[in-house]
């Protein structure tokens, strides 16, 4: 799909004409774009107060996005087609050396499969985000995202500007926009395309739960969120199939002792206590 219009539709011979030509392009909309203010998103989840929205975006297939959100923010990912795959890395925005630790995220809750109630833990014994709603149930914390080497072998191309970008290639760019480099990219998790382990350890493709599912997170600390919407590495389809991903976020409250999820397991309760301890000491 060509993004630029043919030459003969533009008059750009002087600065004044070039300015007029550029300004005439504003105000359009397309299938994948951020909505500003976020309250103007046509896809805002039902029941949300538009005035509380802080993020409204449709992430393109093969696209990426990133944002820093406040502690307590509720973040929702919608898969409208059943083909989105949200590859996520989260960091404590105040100290990005504190970041998603997939091993602790699987080990500490004694559960490898992500779902509602699961904490996304950092390596510092705190909850970066809690999964608080999940209508998909098809996620993966084993395979991470695709690398250039993987996509070159599978599709013959991995360039971020090409038709089959690698997830890592996109996350490298998203991280770079926050001053983070390759060494700052830990293993990621992915939402909406499931993988299951059989009794021999074989990783089996489960794929999507279908169209119109969603996952909601609560940011338990000020959170840097990196998202790449790319085909899962184990997706058996030979074509690179990925659908748009809706991302919305709105102001809310971090998990506290009065929330039912706070004390559902002793490991989780101590993880929330560590998180609240950090937030209180920092005056958050």
């Amino acid at each position: 799909m060509a993004l630029s219009a043919p030459r003969d539709q533009h008059t750009t011979d002087t600065v004044l004409n070039a300015r007029s030509d550029a300004r005439a392009q504003g105000g359009q909309s397309t299938e994948w774009m951020p909505y500003l203010p976020a309250s103007s998103s046509p896809f805002a989840p039902a029941g949300t107060d538009p005035a509380s929205l802080v993020w409204g975006e449709v992430v393109a297939p093969g696209g990426y996005t990133h944002k820093v959100v406040a502690r307590g923010t509720r973040i929702r990912f919608d898969d409208p087609t059943g083909n989105a795959c949200a590859n996520l890395v989260v960091y404590n925005a105040l100290e990005p050396t504190e970041r998603l630790n997939v091993a602790d995220t699987q080990k500490i809750p004694w559960q490898a499969y992500l779902g509602a109630g699961h904490p996304l833990l950092s390596g510092d014994g705190r909850v970066l985000a809690s999964i608080v709603a999940d209508t998909s149930g098809r996620h993966d914390a084993f395979c991470g995202t695709s690398t250039d080497a993987w996509n070159e072998r599978k599709y013959g191309d991995s360039r971020p500007e090409g038709p089959t970008p690698s997830g890592r290639g996109l996350l490298v760019k998203a991280a770079a926009k926050h001053g983070l480099g390759r060494r700052d990219l830990p293993p990621s998790i992915s939402l909406f395309q499931g993988v299951r382990v059989d009794s021999d350890g074989q990783l089996g493709w489960q794929g999507s739960a279908g169209a119109r599912t969603y996952v909601e997170l609560v940011a338990e600390l000020p959170l840097l969120v990196l998202v790449a919407n790319v085909a899962h590495p184990l997706d058996p389809r030979t074509d690179y199939v990925v659908g748009p991903l809706h991302v919305h976020a709105w102001r809310g409250r971090a998990t506290g002792p009065t929330d039912a999820r706070f004390g559902t397991a002793p490991e989780l309760e101590r993880a929330y206590l560590n998180t609240i301890d950090y937030a209180e000491a920092r005056g958050l």
């Binding site: 499969y113 510092d124 250039d148 080497a149 293993p187």
Partner: protein, 230 residues
């Protein structure tokens, strides 16, 4: 020499009378490095492309937490998800290619005397110990402490610690996704051998954990032997 007494609490070591089998390299060749890692301690070494590192589980069921880096570019390091994805398997065993964050082979398991090794469970740490066992264990030693101390000797820091591999540790994943560290499958003198596919910096934490069975509640030494295969 006078014995100096100390009030510092230190980690547990193996019980007197524990069976220790120091074994030998699993692969024949010219020995270029042969070092003993005491219980609780970190270790690091460079294994050149083509050389084979044998790790001996001297006392049996002693987790050797392990990270690997391309010596020419430390930003390229061991990647659990890439290893799992290319193998399409959650366990490390004979033939497993240990891959980097760029999907390239770092090392290959060329010899192995136990069923499988873990690469899901990550490293123990003071911080995660508080989640698992309670805040009273905060001053217990942990593998993350070892990794940070040893990494700093190579210009590496907290940004360079990623999900690791655990030699001789047993973490089954059940069909409902339940997983956890359970009793080990190893024994004194059992070995694993990995061939470097590029020049690799290997960091190991001889796990000091005393609150779960990853060291059989009896931390024992590891022996690291690097050979130029004959």
């Amino acid at each position: 020499m006078t014995m100096i007494s100390s009030t510092v609490p230190v980690g547990a070591s193996f019980a007197a009378g524990s069976e220790l089998d120091w074994a030998q390299s699993l692969v024949p060749g010219l020995v270029v490095l042969d070092e003993r890692v005491p219980p609780n301690a970190p270790w690091s070494g460079v294994v050149a492309a083509g050389q084979v590192l044998t790790i001996v589980d001297v006392g049996g069921n002693q987790s050797g937490d392990c990270l690997m880096y391309n010596t020419a570019d430390h930003e390229e390091r061991y990647s659990v998800p890439d290893t799992l994805t290319w193998e399409q398997n959650a366990y490390v065993s004979t033939g497993t290619v240990l891959r980097s964050s760029e999907g390239r082979p770092l090392m290959t398991v060329v010899g192995n005397e136990i069923d499988r090794h873990d690469t899901i469970g990550g490293a123990c740490s003071k911080e995660s110990n508080t989640l698992r066992y309670g805040h009273h264990v905060m001053y217990h030693h942990g593998c993350r402490e070892n990794f940070l101390a040893e990494a700093s000797r190579h210009g590496l820091g907290v940004r360079d610690l990623v999900s690791n591999l655990n030699w001789f540790m047993n973490v089954p994943v059940e069909t409902d996704g339940a997983l956890g560290i359970v009793d080990g499958l190893s024994a004194p003198g059992r070995r694993v051998a990995v061939r470097a596919e590029m020049d690799v910096l290997v960091l190991v934490s001889n796990c000091p954990q005393m609150n779960n069975p990853c060291n059989d509640f009896n931390p024992t030494p590891l022996r690291m032997i690097v050979v130029e295969p004959s």
